[in-house]
């Protein structure tokens, strides 16, 4: 298995699923255009009481949390030198790179004055948690692109073949790739560590964001350890989201998932989830906020779903041998963790937020949902495109099927 190297997957791109996803993405893009023509107010249900909606909760906070696979696998494989897990590193890196780009893009269309998106670089406010998140994400996105460069080099080195009049530039590009490879191979470790440090910083600061909302936040979620909880849940979702992606990728290309790696990765999950759950429950007990659980209103029910279905059940599942050995159960368990963390972000930014003069609740509009879901669909399409262009995944051919052909196959 160690001998296998990632290769671009050669497979049919437009499967029925891809066509459906592309249509959903297109619908989102149409609403995105409408947002720029008519403004944020026209296509969202945001108002003076609820200034932040699902774009912030799902596409930014949720997207960044689910892109945590990038830094957790980098920490495991590069910082702790557990090369055994190398097959999950590149897919996680690609997912993080696209995920963070999308989160940054979500900021771009959510803010009222999108053309001022560069302002935080010039106008600093170190007191602001949002400023820290913004700067950290900007730097980390750059680090992710740099970490991706060796894959670009591997793909194109010696193969640069521009058509027509650009032919003369082939040599130049080859030389550039060479220089890049030489400099990067010596300095890459700097970026690996920087990526992990930057991630811990902004993953936690995303939690600090809502601390300043004070009593506008429901006490079940409002806590001074919110940044710690955000960091722990991001680390906790890191490996499950990578397993989730691996299992979907393998299934979609009719290949065999690498259960040996997944099993070991899965056995790393329970300790992290346990620490997260312990802090979450400990926080309830210490602040005495568990009394709100008996309210049986939307907040308490959502909190229970988040904790039980999103953390406790998958924690128990990952402890079971038979779950770790079954691709299906492993898929269910990791999906639950992904769901739990996504729901936590949704709860923290939407369900918990109830300002003093609120009239009613916030529901996302059709346009908001279209853009939000459209971007998730576009993420899947781009991820698939990425692994078909670049050497990202290492797939084992499924003995029962002949659908997968790497590189020189005769795929339809």
């Amino acid at each position: 298995m160690e001998g296998l190297h990632p290769k671009p997957v050669n497979y049919k791109f437009f499967t029925p699923t891809m066509i459906v996803l592309s249509i959903i993405a297109l619908n989102g893009i149409i609403f995105l255009l409408l947002r720029f023509i008519f403004g944020v107010g026209e296509i969202t249900n945001l108002n003076q009481q609820y200034p932040w909606g699902i774009w912030n909760a799902v596409n930014k906070a949720g997207g960044i949390a689910l892109a945590a696979g990038g830094f957790t696998t980098a920490a495991l494989s590069h910082v702790m030198n557990r090369k055994y897990y190398h097959i999950v590193v590149r897919p996680a890196l690609l997912a993080a790179m696209i995920g963070y780009s999308f989160a940054a893009f979500a900021v771009f269309f959510d803010i009222g004055r999108w053309y001022y998106i560069w302002h935080p670089i010039v106008f600093w406010n170190p007191n602001s948690a949002l400023f820290e998140v913004g700067i950290c994400v900007m730097i980390y996105l750059t680090v992710l692109y740099i970490e991706f460069l060796p894959i670009v080099y591997e793909r194109f080195s010696g193969k640069v073949n521009l058509p027509g009049i650009l032919k003369g530039l082939n040599n130049l590009f080859e030389k550039l790739l060479k220089v890049m490879e030489n400099t990067l191979s010596k300095t890459m470790f700097v970026f690996f560590i920087a990526g992990v440090v930057l991630s811990t910083l902004h993953q936690s600061s995303l939690g600090t964001l809502m601390v300043i909302a004070g009593e506008k936040m429901h006490p079940l979620w409002q806590t001074p350890i919110l940044p710690l909880l955000f960091l722990l849940s991001a680390i906790g979702v890191g490996f499950p989201v990578v397993m989730f992606e691996h299992l979907i990728t393998a299934r979609s290309f009719k290949a065999k998932p690498d259960m040996a790696v997944l099993r070991r990765l899965g056995s790393l999950v329970p300790p992290i989830l346990f620490v997260y759950l312990a802090f979450k429950i400990g926080d309830l007990v210490i602040r005495g906020t568990f009394v709100y659980l008996t309210d049986f209103n939307m907040q308490s029910v959502m909190f229970m779903i988040e904790i039980i279905i999103g953390v406790a059940i998958p924690l128990r599942m990952f402890l079971s041998r038979s779950v770790l050995n079954s691709p299906l159960w492993l898929f269910i368990a990791s999906s639950l963790v992904v769901f739990g963390v996504l729901l936590n972000r949704f709860n923290t930014f939407i369900i918990a937020y109830h300002p003093p003069y609120a009239q009613g609740y916030y529901y996302p509009s059709f346009g908001e949902l279209s853009i939000s879901i459209g971007l998730i669909a576009l993420f899947v399409v781009l991820f698939r495109l990425g692994i078909m262009i670049f050497p990202i995944v290492t797939l084992q051919e499924n003995k029962n099927s002949h659908h997968l052909h790497t590189q020189s196959g005769d795929a339809k």
């Binding site: 003076q48 200034p51 007191n127 809502m210 506008k216």
Partner: protein, 296 residues
């Protein structure tokens, strides 16, 4: 990775250390929250207010907002619902029933409170909000990116966003008529009020005045000055017959609104020590595990 030597490692680590130390030095230079002893405040005596809403009219006129006819403001039907400041109404008067004297309802004016430790100033990603020396909290449209984090942060739910503006939406809130006060004039609402509900002056003086009134007419007022201590103190302070939370004001603690958030932020970034320490720790870990692997 394979070619990297120990020397390379330390060289790069040193460069990164130097860069972050430089950044730390500039970050420290960010402005402190100025709280001048002469900062101005406004005392609102809700027991005098008759709900004529002249202040709303004057406010709109002073800020070039669509204003309408002053005579229309006599219409008391607007009191049927509790209104909030919005993008084209920076101050509103709401009416609350007086259980003891049905015919004398209590009218309360709402606007930005101009906190002494404003959450918006602390939260804003680009420092578009400033607490000026005279106590006014102002917004700078040349910096604002329209992220609406100030609206999340404000404990009084005051800043509003021009959602209908496609190209250049503004954050709208009371600016305590900074353009007028800098020219020696009174804020428009204070100046027009026929009942002299509001008293504009040094904050310490208006609080003294509030205390005098309460002690002179103890039967007329609840012995409490709302805004003196709330979220660390606000420029606007209120005295009333009832508790202000019964009259539409939020019930707030005395700790400043941005306090917890800022101490977390400053804890994580105190002179960049924690990030640099984490970086060194991970670097050490990387070097050790690599060495161990090479020995195997």
């Amino acid at each position: 990775m394979k070619n990297s030597t120990r020397r390379d490692f330390f060289k790069s680590a040193a460069i990164i250390g130097a860069v972050t130390a430089g950044a730390a030095a500039t970050a420290k230079a960010s402005p402190e929250n100025i709280l001048s002893d002469d900062r101005k405040g406004v005392l609102v005596d809700t027991t005098v207010c008759i709900g004529c809403r002249h202040c709303e009219w004057a406010c709109k006129t002073a800020h070039n907002l669509p204003v309408g006819d002053l005579a229309d403001y006599q219409n008391r039907d607007v009191f049927k619902e509790k209104r909030r400041p919005d993008t084209n109404v920076l101050t509103v008067v709401n009416e609350y029933s007086n259980t003891k004297k049905e015919l004398l309802p209590i009218d309360v004016k709402f606007q930005c409170m101009h906190c002494d430790h404003p959450a918006c100033v602390s939260a804003c990603i680009v420092a578009a909000f400033t607490k000026l020396e005279n106590g006014t909290v102002v917004w700078d449209g040349d910096k604002c990116i329209g992220c609406r984090y100030c609206m999340i942060a404000c404990p009084f739910q005051i800043p509003t966003f021009e959602y209908k503006e496609a190209l250049s939406p503004d954050i709208m809130k009371c600016d305590l008529c900074i353009a007028r006060t800098q020219g020696g004039l009174l804020p428009a609402c204070v100046e027009i009020c026929p009942m002299e509900v509001m008293t504009y002056g040094p904050r310490s003086e208006v609080i003294k005045l509030a205390r005098e009134r309460i002690s002179l007419y103890p039967e007329k007022y609840k012995n409490y000055i709302y805004g003196e201590k709330e979220v660390g103190g606000t420029s606007w302070v209120y005295i009333a017959k009832k508790d202000m939370p019964e009259l539409g004001m939020p019930k707030l603690k005395h700790a400043t609104a941005p306090g917890v958030s800022e101490s977390i932020q400053h804890g994580i970034f105190s002179y960049f020590v924690p990030p640099i320490a984490l970086y060194s720790l991970l670097g050490g870990m990387m070097w050790l595990t690599k060495k161990r692997q090479e020995m195997d």
